[in-house]
């Protein structure tokens, strides 16, 4: 089946507009706690999820909103969940890191690495109860350091489980660059487990679709798990209010909150030799500078697909975008009105 670029773009655009609305509502203080958005990784979910069928399962991490949305969970139910209301997807009990949709066999966890065992278990249930069905795990580069994920790779291989392990690699885990935390090469690592493994440009929804299509065929045919290594960025960094991105976005606040304690530490009379301190300072500066690439338009999966669609039919694109914006705007108004009714 060839991918429909319009459909993929529509999914990504809807996720983008929805999460941008979530950002505003969070910023206004109507959503509590942390907020990890999938802004920047939409193409990975869009390239895979439309290829799932009934009976397929999803094991998500703390960044599950785009996947839930694309699997068909109502945006209103998600938004009300984030707002902690009884009419939310999980009655306001879980929040954005703990989204569950039993009818779609979609479960999330805020524990890094937990998507691995969950996908293996969903895969086992598929193998025994639902022939030809698969499970898909989504996780970040940081999770590839979690023992339980690697144990799941092995379990899935030795049991030939129908699992697609998808690493959404944005090169960072909070403030830790992957190059300082992830040893070796992830493709080689997955292959060493005896697993089929592919690398793909996670900005390119069509490329993800192609790679996933083959991987899913492999898994559905009973040939065992596949590892998909998809590269992406996170436009908002790790979460809303990301400290490293804030250094440029809100310099005054950052100077007071984050830089000042470092300056005091740097000049403390008792500590390491100056060379050591300077190396530490250089490292922080380097990280602040290099994390800025997370926000680069070149990495934005929507901008990657949009120009081709615009060339093909600018009018259709404008209509598509307008109708999605309308839909989400309605969802937001409804969510806010419902909150008013409850207060």
């Amino acid at each position: 089946m060839a991918p429909d670029a319009w459909m993929l773009y529509g999914l990504m655009y809807k996720s983008r507009v929805f999460e941008e609305a979530v950002r505003q509502i969070w910023q206004a203080g109507r959503i509590s706690g942390e907020m990890h958005l999938g802004l920047g990784e939409e193409a990975i979910a869009a390239g895979i999820i439309p290829q799932l069928v009934e009976g397929d399962a999803l094991a998500l991490d703390h960044r599950g909103t785009p996947a839930m949305l694309m699997r068909g969970v109502a945006p209103l139910a998600l938004l009300r969940e984030f707002m902690g209301s009884p009419d939310g997807l999980c009655a306001g009990m879980g929040g954005h890191m703990h989204l569950f949709a039993p009818e779609k066999l979609a479960a999330s966890s805020g524990i890094v690495g937990a998507a691995g065992p969950a996908a293996a278990g969903f895969g086992l249930a598929a193998q025994m109860l639902r022939p030809n069905c698969v499970s898909v795990a989504f996780f970040g580069d940081g999770a590839t350091s979690a023992g339980m994920l690697l144990e799941s790779f092995n379990l899935a291989v030795v049991w030939k489980l129908p699992v697609l392990f998808v690493c959404k690699d944005n090169d960072w885990a909070i403030t830790t660059p992957a190059e300082t935390a992830v040893g070796g090469n992830l493709l080689a690592r997955a292959r060493a487990f005896g697993m089929r493994a592919e690398e793909v440009d996670g900005r390119d929804a069509l490329a993800v679709w192609q790679a996933a299509s083959e991987a899913l065929r492999h898994a559905r045919a009973g040939n065992g798990p596949v590892f998909l290594w998809a590269h992406c960025i996170h436009l908002e960094g790790h979460f809303l209010g990301d400290g490293l991105l804030d250094m440029f976005r809100r310099p005054v606040y950052s100077l007071r909150k984050r830089v000042w304690p470092m300056v005091k530490g740097f000049f403390h009379p008792q500590g390491a030799a100056w060379g050591e301190r300077l190396a530490a300072a250089r490292q922080i500066v380097g990280q602040v500078l290099s994390i800025q690439n997370q926000t680069s338009p070149q990495g934005d999966p929507l901008l990657c697909l949009r120009p081709a669609l615009e060339r093909e039919n600018a009018r259709r694109l404008a209509d598509l975008e307008a109708s999605i914006r309308d839909e989400i705007q309605k969802v937001v108004s409804q969510a806010v009105a419902l909150e008013g009714n409850m207060a």
Partner: protein, 336 residues
Amino acid sequence: MRKMSFSEAIDDALGQGMAADPRVLLLGEDVQGLHGGLFLRFGRQRVRNTPISEAAFLGAAVAASMAGLRPVAEIMLVDFLAVAVDALLNHASKLETFSGGRWQAPLVVRTACGGGYGDGGQHEQSLWGWLAHIPGLSVVVPSTPADAGGLMLAALELGSPVVFMEHKLISSIWLDFLGSGGRDTVTFDVPPDGEHGRVPDRWQPIPLGQALLRKKGSDVTIVTLGVGVHRALQASAELEKQGLSAGVLDLRSVSPLDKAAVCQEVSRTGRLLVVDEDYEGFGLSGELAAIVLEAGISCKYARVCTQTTIPFARRLEDETLPNVARIGAACRKLAG
């Protein structure tokens, strides 16, 4: 006397300990950013970022401590300790016994705990009772900056494994990181005396296992720890206006547990109320009842604890965690 925040106090005391003893090092996820002051002061050898591999780095910290280092391993949130609990349950805590007293693991596990800021039930647990259940582990839960620093220094010097727990609601670093995310559109019920306060110019260790009577009372003894101390003090102030005198005993550590102080206070008032943010069943609150019973003290008993998985919804969360209203009602019922 200096004044500083709870989170500054912990890093400050840890810094004093690191300056005094080159074997002390801090390792954990993102510690170079989260504890940037220590990173820029002590550099990359002694403040080490780890991969998200708790089972590996906590287990490694145990062995490193057996081989001469004094690691402080940070498990970001105590909830995440679950993936690495083997290192504590089966190794650090058992070493001294297994080796016939010939080997110790002088390790500090530093971890943030507690709720009240809307992150949900997988990020806001307390779990100190669960950890203190294991023989061979000390579990420290400070409630003020002065205690936090002094207890950290004692933990560094103890010579056996200590879990040092910092409640996120009074730890401005964590609350800013996870709760507000830099927003000024959200507010939290932060106890000011927990978040900020006077600390000594130079830290002295506060021995583990010494409870502190925060307030004298003649009708009821509230035994508590962490943020519970501040909730109890507030409830006690309100009860006082109604003519009820409730004392507040701050345990400061769950293990070792200051049984003598608990028994002394409870035998005076004849009424024990435990305020414990950890889960109600099979934990600290039941343990305290057992202790007074074993001591032959006859008293009335009640507890205000967390009974269920902590809901994400803020309002439900506030009802689930011990709050001033529930503490006040429980005291009145005990005294009535």
